[in-house]
């Protein structure tokens, strides 16, 4: 069968993302390894262009597998345990972990794996020790799974964009729903800012975003819905645009609601050295419950579980009994 010659198409029909270089030329902020960071960034970029297929197409019908020859020239890439990238993106939406030991991942994000692996919920007796080392947060353990064993593990999350980041003795804070997986060398803590998690230490983690992630430099104000996380920024704060509420007309508008709002009066402002991670859409990823912090004076959001989604209202109080309602999908 012959096919009309087609111009080669970009993989996944996307143009390469016009991302900012991850770090400014004036040098990386302290606590970061520029090399590591760029490497990770490059790797992600490389995942967006399909690399030359290491697997040479086998002769037609070698074992009853069809011959893939789309009219575009390059056949779709077929991966196997050997050719899957190690700790890198397979495509913008799928990440391959070269597992040798343990890895933490959000529940239900495994799509396939080669090799011998076991997935166990965190909080089982054997894993209590590991838990102590890595989870210095009241994060609900039932949302996390530890994968143990050897092999290649594929992660994906509702076909959102996945990116991996390398931290070298650094810290990065990310929205709880966006964090997908992390190496056990990193420590996970709950941020003081409700709904966010902070990763500290050295290692790699994978985060999902709705649309590709952009790195921007403070000082900057970002839309709350577009914020994915930030690294090293000392002062994330709220910023309200009150100017339109000034004066008589503004006061009337404020009181009556007549005239409406632009929807952009509230932003997050970042000041200081670091990087802010932004996604290219304002669609929030469903947040994960980050657990309940101790009810104590001076603790923001204490005693109140943030972003509780799912669970039936009547079962919400079961809380530390294991959050049965959410677990059983009630």
């Amino acid at each position: 069968m012959s096919y009309p010659p087609q111009p080669p198409q970009s993989p996944y029909g996307q143009q390469p993302y016009g991302q900012q270089p991850p770090y400014p030329p004036q040098g990386p902020p302290s606590g970061y390894s520029q090399h590591q960071y760029e490497q990770s960034h490059q790797a992600t970029q490389a995942g967006m262009h399909v690399p030359p297929p290491p697997y040479q197409a086998s002769p037609a019908g070698q074992f009853g597998a069809p011959v893939f020859q789309p009219p575009g020239g390059d056949a779709p890439q077929v991966w196997d345990a050997g050719t899957l990238p190690a700790d890198d993106n397979v495509n913008p939406y799928c990440f391959s972990v070269d597992l040798n030991g343990a890895y933490y991942l959000q529940k239900g994000k495994m799509i396939a794996y080669y090799g011998e692996m076991r997935f166990s919920g965190i909080g089982r007796g054997v894993l209590d020790r590991v838990l102590e080392q890595n989870f210095n947060s009241p994060l609900h353990a039932s949302d996390w799974v530890v994968a143990e064993g050897r092999g290649k593990l594929l992660l994906a999350d509702r076909s959102y964009d996945l990116n991996s980041y390398d931290l070298e003795d650094g810290n990065l804070t990310v929205r709880s729903g966006n964090l997908l997986a992390f190496e056990p060398t990193l420590r996970l803590k709950q941020s003081i800012i409700p709904g966010f998690l902070t990763l500290i230490g050295t290692g790699k983690f994978v985060a999902a975003s709705n649309g590709p992630v952009h790195f921007v430099e403070p000082p900057i104000r970002v839309d709350p819905q577009a914020l994915v996380g930030w690294a090293d920024c000392p002062a994330p704060c709220h910023h309200y645009d009150h100017s339109y509420l000034h004066g008589v007309i503004g006061g009337l508008r404020h009181l009556t609601g007549i005239g409406g709002a632009s929807g952009e009066e509230h932003q997050f402002e970042f000041i200081g050295a670091g990087q802010v991670l932004m996604q290219s859409s304002e669609t929030l990823m469903a947040d994960r419950s980050v657990g309940v912090v101790a009810a104590e004076a001076g603790v923001p959001g204490a005693g109140v579980p943030h972003q509780q989604h799912g669970g039936a209202p009547g079962l919400g109080n079961l809380g530390n009994l294991g959050d049965l309602g959410r677990r059983f999908g009630l």
């Binding site: 019908g61 069809p66 011959v67 890439q77 196997d80």
Partner: protein, 212 residues
């Protein structure tokens, strides 16, 4: 002979010269030239196929497209994967089958408990013969090779299709800890052994096993 090509990654363009393709009902988005669209009852496999599909619940709303020109198909902006069959069999969830050449035969195949776990019923759709088939996936599909001594385990919610000589078995990682709620989140897995290719999408359907 119908010519299948991708227009971008989410639109399938089929060049027709008086021949026929079968496509999911309502998936045409545009066409040039002269086209006729005929609804086929019961998946277009004849009376026997119709009864089988009705019984198995692997229902497919299929139309027959015939004409001269180019017809464009798409489904909810899902990614489209072209599969060329040369006498092999493609197993695919009926929800993911977008379009096939008229030379291909479609039917149903019993999957047993595997299908049960993936929430797609006990049956799956079988495509065999010579020609092109277009399979949709939520996000670009990752094609994984299974060889001897290299089994693959797949989350049922991410499974889209497979070809080749593969054996499917449902593996359960569920134990006592799943029952008390400390499960690993991956209690149901489908293990593929043998030789062939498995299509996996970077997204998970809602499945029965998804929450345990």
């Amino acid at each position: 002979m119908a010519q299948f090509r991708l227009q971008g990654s989410r639109v399938l363009a089929v060049d027709l010269a008086g021949d026929t393709v079968k496509a999911r009902n309502g998936s045409m988005v545009a066409y040039t030239g002269q086209m006729g669209f005929k609804k086929l009852s019961g998946g277009g496999d004849g009376l026997r196929g119709m009864v089988t599909r009705r019984l198995t619940g692997e229902r497919m709303e299929v139309m027959e497209v015939k004409g001269q020109g180019t017809c464009y198909f798409a489904d909810k902006a899902t990614e489209i994967n072209l599969v060329r069959l040369n006498g092999e069999t493609l197993f695919v969830e009926s929800d993911n089958l977008l379009c096939t050449e008229a030379t291909l035969r479609t039917g149903t195949s019993f999957t047993g408990l595997n299908g049960m776990a993936s929430g797609n019923g006990l049956f799956t759709t079988k495509v065999e013969g010579q020609g092109w088939a277009a399979v949709t996936s939520n996000g670009p599909a990752v094609i994984l090779r299974v060889a001897q001594g290299l089994p693959l385990r797949v989350d049922p919610g991410a499974y889209v299709a497979h070809t080749g000589n593969l054996h499917r078995a449902l593996k359960s990682g569920a134990g006592w800890s799943t029952l008390i709620g400390e499960g690993g989140g991956e209690a149901m897995q489908v293990e593929f052994t043998g030789e062939g290719l498995v299509y996996v999408q970077p997204s998970e359907r809602m499945t029965l096993g998804g929450e345990v």
